[in-house]
């Protein structure tokens, strides 16, 4: 694969989009460095696709600016932005073959036939479509057609590739395959990629940076690990992965800065957290996979162990999903390893749960710093 153009940076600057009275995107700003993979993650109606279409030029913002590389592209027409775009549905032109689809943008640029053929062959190899060159859309699976769309968007060598939920119309197996193809393409071409998805697994596995959107605003921006382990709001905590949101309170601040908090009916010490004082109400996020079911003999190895009443359990192969009542709060826990079979076999009434990590989400939702145990 000969890389001609490296990725270019993207800057979204104070972009707002209104559809009548509805504010779809509300003063959103963020930067994507060249060659990076950013994922816009959010539920339906969060404004993620609108932002992507504004960056592409397919939608006009009400206010704000779009920079592509060093160019202010705010008023540049979509077809002159030089940006590749992959749509949610495989929009393979039905009256052209795979080869003709991939070469369409190159033909438009009046490249020599030999160059077009060479470039098409490169793209076919890149997205693993060998042997399917002369097929039409109706003769391809959804995953194959979407790979054609990716190859077609990349063929003119755009520095930026925008992907609008490219995996959502595919079944689980094809989705995994194509996700790998996208990751491989990004690594091999070093293009700047911006993808929209509502699937947090896709976002966390592909992105360098995740932009979590809620109601047209950025709820959190960070690396996949930051967004997952240090969610800044209850929305991010529950949307990116599953979590248990538990209410608590600050009972005191030690001279060394350590916070004493009361959660699930007992006191727990956590590291210093700015902006919190004794008496403050707090919301905590406890990830189901950060809660561990332990044996009685291991109780002393963990600083904070809670007793819980087993309410329900669902076996889903590599994981046992259980629900436990701890002091009136229902917690969901993911049990993996051999412990899941032991629980299934004995189904005890009371289980011991060790706290792994908890994150404080102050009610003010500003300046949150996670507290690790």
């Amino acid at each position: 694969m000969n890389v001609r153009l490296p990725g270019a940076s993207i800057r979204v600057e104070g972009v707002t989009k209104r559809f009548g009275r509805v504010v779809a995107v509300d003063d959103v700003s963020f930067d994507v460095p060249a060659g990076k993979f950013v994922v816009l993650l959010g539920p339906s109606g969060s404004g993620k696709t609108t932002i992507l279409r504004i960056v592409a030029g397919l939608e006009t913002q009400t206010s704000g600016k779009i920079w592509l590389g060093d160019t202010d592209a705010t008023t540049v027409a979509a077809h002159r932005r030089g940006v590749g775009y992959v749509f949610q549905r495989p929009s393979m032109f039905p009256h052209y073959t795979v080869r003709e689809n991939i070469g369409w943008g190159l033909k438009l640029r009046r490249l020599p036939r030999v160059e077009i053929e060479r470039r098409v062959a490169e793209m076919i190899e890149l997205v693993h479509l060998d042997g399917l060159e002369d097929r039409y859309a109706t003769e391809l699976s959804g995953g194959q057609a979407q790979r054609v769309a990716i190859a077609r968007a990349l063929a003119p060598d755009p520095p930026i590739l925008l992907l609008d939920e490219p995996l959502s119309s595919l079944d689980a197996k094809l989705r995994d395959q194509l996700k790998d193809v996208i990751a491989e393409v990004q690594q091999r071409t070093n293009k700047t990629m911006m993808m929209v998805t509502h699937d947090q697994r896709e976002a966390l596995s592909l992105a360098d940076t995740v932009v979590v959107l809620d109601l047209g605003r950025i709820a959190q921006l960070g690396s996949p690990t930051e967004v997952y382990r240090r969610p800044s709001t209850p929305f991010v905590a529950s949307f990116v992965g599953s979590t248990n949101l538990v209410r608590g309170s600050v009972t005191g601040v030690q001279p060394d800065g350590t916070l004493a908090i009361r959660v699930l009916g007992r006191d727990v010490d956590v590291p210093r957290q700015d902006g919190l004082a004794a008496g403050d109400s707090i919301l905590l996020s406890l990830r189901p996979d950060d809660l561990e079911v332990i044996e009685e003999r291991d109780r002393d190895q963990f600083p904070y162990v809670f007793e819980g009443r087993l309410l329900d359990s669902v076996f889903i192969g590599d994981m046992l999903r259980i629900e436990v009542d701890v002091n009136g709060e229902t917690l969901r826990i993911h049990v993996t390893g051999r412990a899941r079979f032991s629980l299934l076999q004995h189904h005890p009434e009371i289980v011991l749960i060790a706290l792994g990590e908890l994150v404080i989400l102050p009610a003010t939702a500003t300046g949150q710093v996670p507290a690790e145990l």
């Binding site: 592409a56 027409a77 979509a78 077809h79 549905r89 929009s91 032109f93 039905p94 438009l108 003119p156």
Partner: protein, 270 residues
């Protein structure tokens, strides 16, 4: 139980076949009768003699209307394609105020009584553009208006089923909106345009009300000429032959269009 069901289904199917056959006979019968009149002026059935002579004595006035009829058909079709493509595109793809009103408005000429509308249009011509009376354009305008709904609905229907993201994909590959429409959308909606053209061509080539009210002897369709001869002499072999010829020419042209479209847009046209 199953045997009974199968029998009931079999009887139902047979009844549908018989019904279809009756409908087909009712549709085709007038043409068969016309053919019998054209080739034999006999009043008994089966006729005692046949002659193709009427087909060679169609009359100068009738033959003189053929170029006008074909020109009217071709012009109406081309004008409507040019009018309806942007109109249907705007109505289907571009949200704008008054879209619903426009959707209803194109049905109006179709709903209004033809004779009354032509009298009104004739009055307007006399008052505002008297030179249009009896001219080709004067006849073309009402024929185009009357057929607007057919072409517009056919094109709009095709646009509704074609995915707008194809065109956006072409734009993102560097094509202007016009180029994307021409290269990507147009081939997709071509079956709709073909179907609309066939209907409009058949309608306008044989148009009656507009040329009858607004035409002059040299600007009427073959259909009007046939009607005039029919009122003068009644149904004789020559009028029957003229009518058959009109049917034959129009149906042949439509059939050629259909076969071409079916070959070109395989799977999109039955």
């Amino acid at each position: 139980m199953w045997a009974r069901r199968i029998t009931v289904r079999g009887i139902g199917r047979r009844l549908i076949h018989i019904y279809s056959l009756i409908v087909a006979i009712l549709l085709v019968y007038p043409t068969i009768q016309l053919f019998i009149v054209a080739v034999s002026d006999d009043i008994v059935f089966p006729p005692r003699y046949f002659s193709l002579q009427p087909f060679f004595e169609l009359g100068a006035s009738f033959l003189g209307t053929i170029p006008f009829s074909v020109a009217l058909g071709v012009s109406t079709t081309l004008v409507l394609i040019a009018l309806c493509l942007p109109m249907a595109y705007a109505m289907e793809r571009i949200p704008f105020r008054g879209r619903n009103v426009m959707g209803v408005a194109i049905f109006l000429p179709f709903i209004l009584p033809g004779v009354g509308y032509m009298v009104a249009l004739g009055a307007a011509y006399i008052l505002l553009f008297p030179e249009l009376i009896g001219s080709f354009i004067g006849v073309l305008i009402p024929v185009v208006i009357g057929n607007l709904v057919w072409m517009s609905r056919a094109v709009q229907g095709s646009l509704a089923t074609s995915d707008a993201s194809y065109e956006d994909a072409a734009v993102m590959l560097g094509a202007s909106r016009l180029r994307a429409f021409r290269s990507i959308t147009l081939p997709q909606i071509a079956p709709g345009i073909a179907v609309g053209s066939m209907i409009v061509f058949a309608n306008s080539t044989t148009a009656f009300v507009a040329p009858y009210f607004l035409g002059r002897p040299d600007s009427v369709t073959a259909t009007v000429n046939i009607f005039n001869e029919l009122t003068l002499r009644g149904l004789d072999p020559r009028v029957a032959a003229q009518s058959l010829l009109v049917e034959l020419v129009v149906m042949s042209l439509v059939l050629i269009g259909y076969l071409f479209s079916r070959k070109r847009f395989r799977g999109l046209i039955i």
